[in-house]
Amino acid sequence: MRPRRAALFITCLSDTMYPATGRAVVTLLERLGVAVDFPLQQTCCGQMHFNTGYAAETIPLVRRFVRAFADSEVVVSPSASCVGMVRDAYPRVAALAGDAGLAREVAALAPRVLELTELLVNHLELEDVGAFFPHRVTYHPTCHSLRMLGVGDRPVRLLRAVRGIDLRELPQAAECCGFGGTFAVKNADTSIAMVTDKVRAVLDTGAEVCAAADNSCLMHIGGALTRQRAGVRTLHLAEILAATER
């Protein structure tokens, strides 16, 4: 199935703090012939609440999400972590709510919720999306993209096809950056030890840009990079794929 239309699930984080990522997804998909919808009733998928142990507080957010996207044939999101929440945890939330109707709605919707690189590579069958980005880039494969969604090397294949890019391999790439939602605050010392090693690995590549397919991890890595005045910026993969030679 080659979708002609997709509803963007921007995530609360990107909506509020990284709007450029959303604009990039729109630019990219429209360039590839996919019309984009943006259901305005969407807010947050509830991942932070659920993963911190607040299941009761998560239930209304799941209901809200399911209704907001009920009519969308395909939902696309620039966050592997939030997509993982929908596909992996929503069935459990519905079960905890004891709501069979919600469980059915979740079961119907969850498989249609795709992470951006899944849509591009699996469904649009593309690796070269016509991007141009003449910079030194290293790619951090986020934990949930790798181990929850199993996107494998799809993001790297997309990046390799970008014209002008100088892609540098990240040492110990698959290791967590230490974000983990509220983990970064509850276990701040451990989280900082983890991101310190990640930042060192990023700097070792000599890249100017650290890219990933999730702004939450990039917010974490980027926060450590700017604190250290490292001179490396973070950028969502979508923004690289949307860039063209003008």
Partner: protein, 467 residues
């Protein structure tokens, strides 16, 4: 006696000690990285690894569902083969049973094969209180015992020590060590060997744990690398094996699956060097008396937890410890329990109750590395989140999470919050970044800036451009 599976301090606090110890972090980083890479290679050799994992998971799941039947079958088979089976509800009962058997033989010392279960029970301390000295014979466990330290890894208990530290310890504590002992691993092992040989020959009672027990035949399996465990299970006149009730597997054939999964996952070996298997007592060989102590000590509580019960599938390979980015940096002591690392973060609260270890389910970034390597597919992140749901929540976090949930539940409140966030951050944001946050959030800004709310949200742009 304090319970060795109940942490004294919350994880974030206990972790600080290790995080500040740069020697420890180097030792651990070096060790876990090396074993991680080796495990990956050993696993990659088997084309059917994923099927094996699934078999390992399925067999355990089935075994747990009929645990009562299998345990009775095991008891009957062991008894028929001349062994004596004891049932222990908790640590106190188990320790008393073991102590009574030793006392009945008038022994004042025992040799021990490495066993996590006896550590969980605090057996050595309980025996010491009865005037019985328990000698650890696993090399690393011996090092721990000599240094009056706590193990920090379930398979490599002294992973946090390097060989210079071990040489110092041997020189101080072992008569067999010459004053000019070097830190050459061969020389260190030789000193330990002479010490242990003497013990094996003069001790009449041996104690072991069990990796598996086969219900249909009554056979017990101990898997190890050094051969010292086999000395403990074969040389003494009396053998006492202490095992958790979850270690039983239904059939001999099931063993085949685990004997493939375990060595590759734990030591990255194709086959482990020593697999000892025995059934009751033999007429001409081995101990003339065999006792099997079946221990509950919280396990039936875990069994009653539908989602958590998968933690009982654990075969203690330690792959999840080696894979864990948190463990790599904090070491095992921070978990404050016999069971450290990702498996400990779920098993400890499951065995003892979440109230006893409320910080452990949060000692993870939920990166999933543990689940990925677990040979019996225990979904540790899923159980962590499940346990987090059962932790008592407190303000201000609880109040903040509830308020936030209300905001996310309404488009109007959500959009208003985006606007007010933009205003509220003004005093905090400097040149496009927030460098200091108040209260509990200050942990973030201790070493990381925060990105401020964007001047225009995505939805505002969308409404302006496409609305």
């Amino acid at each position: 006696m304090s319970d060795p599976t109940v942490p004294d301090a919350p994880f974030p606090q206990a972790a600080r000690v290790a995080l500040a110890d740069s020697q420890l972090r180097r030792n651990l980083g070096h060790a876990t990285r090396a074993i991680r890479a080796k495990r990956a290679d050993a696993v990659a050799e088997l084309p059917d690894w994923e099927q094996l994992r699934e078999a390992g998971r399925a067999i355990k799941e089935r075994a747990m569902r009929h645990l009562d039947t299998h345990l009775l079958e095991l008891e009957a088979a062991v008894t028929a083969a001349g062994g004596v089976v004891h049932w222990a509800r908790d640590a106190q009962e188990a320790n008393r049973i073991v102590g009574d058997v030793i006392a009945a033989h008038g022994a004042d010392q025992v040799v021990k094969a490495k066993s996590l279960t006896t550590e969980e029970l605090g057996l050595n301390e309980a025996l010491a209180a009865r005037g019985i000295h328990a000698w650890e014979t696993d090399l690393a466990q011996l090092i721990i015992q000599l240094s009056d330290d706590m193990p920090s890894h379930i398979l490599v208990p002294a992973i946090h020590l390097n060989r210079a530290q071990i040489r110092e310890l041997f020189r101080r504590r072992l008569d067999e060590a010459a004053p000019d002992l070097s830190d050459d691993p061969g020389e260190l092992a030789e000193v330990a060997r002479r010490h242990l040989r003497r013990l094996f020959l003069e001790t009449r009672v041996g104690i072991s744990g069990a990796n598996f027990a086969v219900a249909e035949t009554g056979s017990v399996a101990v898997v190890e690398s050094e051969g010292n465990g086999r000395m403990c299970t074969t040389l003494p006149e009396v053998l006492i094996t202490v095992m958790g009730i979850e270690k039983v597997i239904p059939t001999w054939q099931d063993l085949e699956v685990y004997l493939q999964l375990l060595p590759r996952s734990s030591t990255a070996e194709r086959m482990n060097p020593y697999t000892s298997l025995w059934t009751g007592v033999g007429e001409h060989d081995g101990p003339g008396e065999f006792h099997l102590v079946l221990v509950d000590n919280g396990r039936t509580n875990v069994l009653a937890d539908e989602l958590g019960r998968q933690a009982l599938h654990c075969i203690r390979c330690s792959a999840c410890l080696n894979a864990c980015p948190v463990y790599e940096r904090t070491g095992g002591h921070a978990y404050g329990s016999t069971y450290p690392g990702p498996i400990g973060a779920i098993l400890t609260p499951l065995l003892r109750g979440v109230d006893e270890a409320a910080s452990l389910p949060y000692a993870s970034s939920l990166c999933g590395a543990c689940y990925e390597v677990c040979p019996v597919k225990i979904n540790i992140p899923e159980v962590l989140v499940h346990l987090r749901r059962r932790v008592d929540k407190h303000d201000p976090e609880r109040a903040a999470m509830r308020a936030l949930a209300r905001v996310f539940a309404s488009r109007r409140l959500y959009e208003a919050a985006q606007r007010s966030g933009r205003l509220g951050q003004r005093p905090l944001a400097r040149s496009g970044r927030i460098t200091r946050l108040p209260g509990p959030l200050s942990g973030w800004t201790a070493a990381r800036d925060l990105r401020p709310v964007a001047p225009e949200s995505f939805r505002e742009w969308w409404l302006r451009e496409r609305g």
